[in-house]
């Protein structure tokens, strides 16, 4: 028995030595590559038609390899000089997997709410399909479920018209829909919000590109009805000045 396994071992070993391209103490000729990036797609100051100044961020950071990545996404704003705390629209920690050449599936948890000491945050689970659709539409579609079981869907789409080798005209659409009513967070079911923006971006370098732009934001459906009932404006327009920055 023992002799037989020895024989098998001897027969296997030379094969192993040849087939294994890296002998044990040799380095791999090509290694898996890991890197990361922090990208502020929007880091801007907004002047609204209500004459408010708002600082806005919309960022993503990731680390990992080609298929598996940890992703952090965050969006938020702070209305200047209103005495109110910063509004964190989202902060999400996700695991991303490249499922097809242009699309990754992401799943994780997120939180949002007013960044003040006494506010309670809304925590939620989120799945996203993020990637590049045919004709170069950059998309991020997320489905969120909070602790109350409220379901919300947010879809962001960006496109780029190349004006010169370093300047772009970029439309952006963000659509929000609530699949359920939420009493706690005062959300009405149905399409709730549409934001359309257009910006002109000029690259100082690939990493740093200031831009100017305009946007229109409008409440939709039941959400708009509710706002009208409360005598609130259902639309908002503004101009933005900011920069797209990555490192």
């Amino acid at each position: 028995m023992y002799g037989k396994s020895l024989l098998v071992g001897a027969a296997l070993l030379p094969g192993l030595a040849v087939a294994g391209h890296a002998k044990e103490d040799w380095p791999e000729p090509v290694k898996e590559y890991y890197t990361g990036q922090v990208l502020f797609d929007r880091l801007e100051l907004t002047r609204t038609n209500e004459e408010e100044n708002v600082a806005v961020w919309d960022m993503m950071a990731w680390y990992g390899g080609d298929y598996h990545r940890f992703v952090f996404k965050s969006e938020g704003e702070n209305i200047q000089d209103d005495g109110e705390p910063t509004d964190l629209e989202s902060a999400e920690l996700l695991y991303g997997y490249l499922m097809s050449p242009f699309w990754s599936f992401q799943a994780g948890v997120g939180t949002r709410g007013s960044l003040s000491s006494d506010a309670s945050m809304e925590n939620y689970a989120v799945v996203s399909f993020m990637g590049l659709a045919p004709y170069w539409f950059e998309m991020d579609n997320s489905l969120m479920v909070n602790e109350e079981g409220d379901v919300q869907f947010v879809s962001e789409t960006e496109y780029e018209w190349q004006l010169t080798q370093t300047s772009y005209l970029q439309p952006r659409i963000e659509l929000t829909a609530n699949l359920t009513d939420s009493d706690k967070y005062e959300r009405q079911s149905g399409l709730s919000n549409l934001r359309v923006g257009l910006r002109y971006r000029h690259e100082i370098s690939r990493e740093f590109a200031p831009y100017i732009g305009v946007y229109w934001n409008g409440a939709l459906g039941n959400t708009a009805d509710e706002m009208k009932r409360m005598s609130e404006d259902t639309t908002e327009t503004g101009v933005v000045l900011g920069a797209r920055v990555w490192f």
Partner: protein, 587 residues
């Protein structure tokens, strides 16, 4: 070095060639790249045993000081001249703070002398010396370079010339020209930029105004049809080179265009130019306006002479050409990056200090339908199972007319390429639905030039190779990639994803079929064995590096006579680093 040049002809006062500038040149230029070159039957200036020291040292590159990796203080490294039949004794000492290696590109040698860390040996640790020993059984123009990390991008490379036994170089004089691409950026930064920001170095993208102009000229419908396929595939027809002149300084023997590397000739002399593309990422189109070049060797191996006006040299390829300038005037040696983002020039001149007119860069180029395997569809008549149909053929008929003139049927044209329904997974953004042979095409940007450009089908081996057997077995490999994440692979799998080597049986005769399922050109290099290109000629030309165009299929014959493990990879440095690498095991 030889100094046989007729001193009476020299006029030292001419131009800016003063003692000071001569010294400046001497400091940056590899000492072998002297203008005199080497004359026929000179003494061989090679010691029996050659010591090479690898170190990082500041050096003037163009008009700025960089920190390349030097070999014996030079970048590119010294010209190593060996003689066919000798035993090569090369001692490589590492004075870097990291491991290094030297791979002798195109040389047939034992497995443990091939210099690929992790495949043929463990690499050379800092402050250690590796003694390379092998019998030189071939002659011709080759080169050597690091196979460790991205060191090649830092200039860790040099020319290797092996003289034939009889010493006959078929010319009165010879010059060795090694082309390279230098960046002042850290190569790791370049790689990360490619990884995280698709198109980072491409400053030739199509703008909306060009689209407007196309609409104005040819109408909306036609313009849309041309754009449609690219849009669906999410690929750019202007994506020719991943790393471009926006960061690269192109060098000829270590000098940029301004420094103007010069090579002397006497009118009427036959001059052999040994041209090596030692670039990390750059294909070059090489021409000498006013001079016809006769190609006499490809990848160091002799071919039947082909007169051409221009040739494209893929990364890692070498070509030997003979020129015979009759007039007593300078000629520009012009090497233009194939995406037209830059060039380097040198001068072939009867006197030091002269220069000739430098041509303009030709306009940026765009890939046509042939890149998608659409060019030959009319010929193949095989429309079944093809999602693309004729209406997409748009206005691009030039490729079709090229195809019409192409008669000879190649073995690869009868090989059916099948793709799995699911493609090659997330690592491969496209498959070539209808791959075709494109060996008779000069390549992107050269389709419509009005002079003779070398094509692979022009190459005929100078003589028969020892193994004339028919292939017993066929191996098919697909070149795959995903630009968005800068993943490059074979069969959709990066090197880190495969579980074993590509197996060759010792002694067998193989046909290797490769299909390029990407939108880029790839120079594919097999270590340790020759690849005979089935280009319809006999004797076939044999190559160590074969460049594949987008949606091309090629077949090559290989005699698996070199036992051991060998690297097989794309010679675009960052593609290799990204995973386009396999180990071939011969046992």
């Amino acid at each position: 070095m030889s100094n046989e040049f007729n001193k009476g002809r020299r006029k030292f006062i001419k131009s800016a060639f003063t003692v000071a500038s001569a010294l400046a040149i001497a400091k940056v230029a590899p000492t072998w790249a002297t203008p005199q070159g080497r004359k026929f039957k000179d003494q061989v200036l090679t010691k029996d045993e050659i010591d090479l020291t690898i170190a990082k040292s500041p050096l003037l590159v163009g008009n700025k000081v960089g920190t390349p990796i030097t070999i014996n203080g030079q970048m590119p490294g010294p010209l190593i001249r060996l003689k066919e039949g000798q035993r090569a004794k090369l001692n490589v000492t590492n004075r870097l703070s990291e491991d290094t290696s030297i791979h002798w590109h195109g040389i047939i040698l034992p497995e443990n002398m091939d210099g690929v860390p992790g495949v043929s040996f463990e690499g050379i640790k800092p402050w250690r010396t590796y003694k390379y020993r092998y019998d030189v059984e071939q002659n011709g123009t080759y080169w050597y370079h690091s196979h460790s990390g991205l060191q090649e991008q830092l200039g860790h490379l040099g020319p290797l010339v092996i003289e034939p036994k009889d010493g006959d170089i078929g010319a009165d004089r010879e010059h060795t020209i090694i082309l390279s691409d230098w960046t002042f950026e850290d190569p790791d930064t370049v790689f990360r930029n490619l990884k995280v920001a698709e198109g980072y170095y491409n400053y030739q993208k199509r703008t909306i105004f060009e689209t407007f102009e196309d609409v104005r000229q040819q109408g909306l419908e036609k313009t849309w049809k041309q754009r449609e396929m690219w849009g669906q595939m999410r690929m750019s027809p202007r994506d020719i080179a991943d790393v471009t002149g926006s960061t690269y300084t192109y060098l000829m023997n270590g000098r940029d265009s301004q420094m103007n590397w010069s090579a002397l000739f006497k009118p009427g002399e036959k001059v052999r130019l040994r041209i090596i593309n030692g670039s990390a990422m750059s294909y070059f189109d090489v021409r000498i306006p006013g001079l016809e070049m006769t190609v006499v060797a490809a990848d160091g191996q002799p071919v039947k002479p082909v007169p051409v006006d221009e040739f494209r040299i893929g990364v890692a390829e070498t070509y030997d050409v003979i020129v015979q300038p009759k007039q007593n005037k300078p000629y520009t040696i012009f090497a233009e990056s194939f995406d037209r983002s830059g060039y380097v020039r040198g001068t072939l001149t009867p006197e030091i200090g002269l220069e000739a007119e430098v041509p303009d860069l030709r306009p940026a180029v765009e890939r046509g339908m042939a890149a998608m395997g659409m060019g030959a569809m009319a010929m193949s008549g095989d429309m079944k199972g093809n999602s693309m149909n004729m209406k997409h053929m748009g206005g691009n008929n030039s490729h079709m007319t090229h195809k019409m003139t192409h008669k000879k049927e190649l073995p690869v044209e009868n090989i059916k390429i099948k793709h799995r329904e699911s493609g090659h997974g997330a690592g491969a953004a496209m498959i070539a639905t209808n791959p075709v042979s494109r060996l008779h095409e000069p390549g992107i940007g050269l389709e419509d030039v009005d002079h003779k450009v070398l094509v692979y089908t022009d190459l005929v081996g100078a003589h028969e190779w020892p193994d004339t057997r028919e292939p017993e077995r066929q191996i098919e490999l697909h070149l795959t990639g995903n630009m968005e994440r800068y993943m490059w692979s074979f069969d959709g799998k990066k090197f880190t994803e495969v579980d074993g080597p590509v197996q060759f049986h010792h002694g067998e005769r193989l046909r290797l079929v490769m299909v390029n399922d990407t939108m880029m050109d790839h120079p594919i290099h097999l270590h340790g064995m020759w690849m005979e290109l089935e280009n319809g000629q006999y004797p076939r030309p044999r190559k160590h590096t074969i460049s594949l165009k987008p949606s091309e299929k090629v077949s090559l014959l290989i005699t698996a006579d070199a036992p051991g493990s060998w690297a097989f990879h794309c010679h675009l440095l960052y593609h290799m680093k990204a995973g386009m690498f396999r180990v071939v095991n011969v046992a």
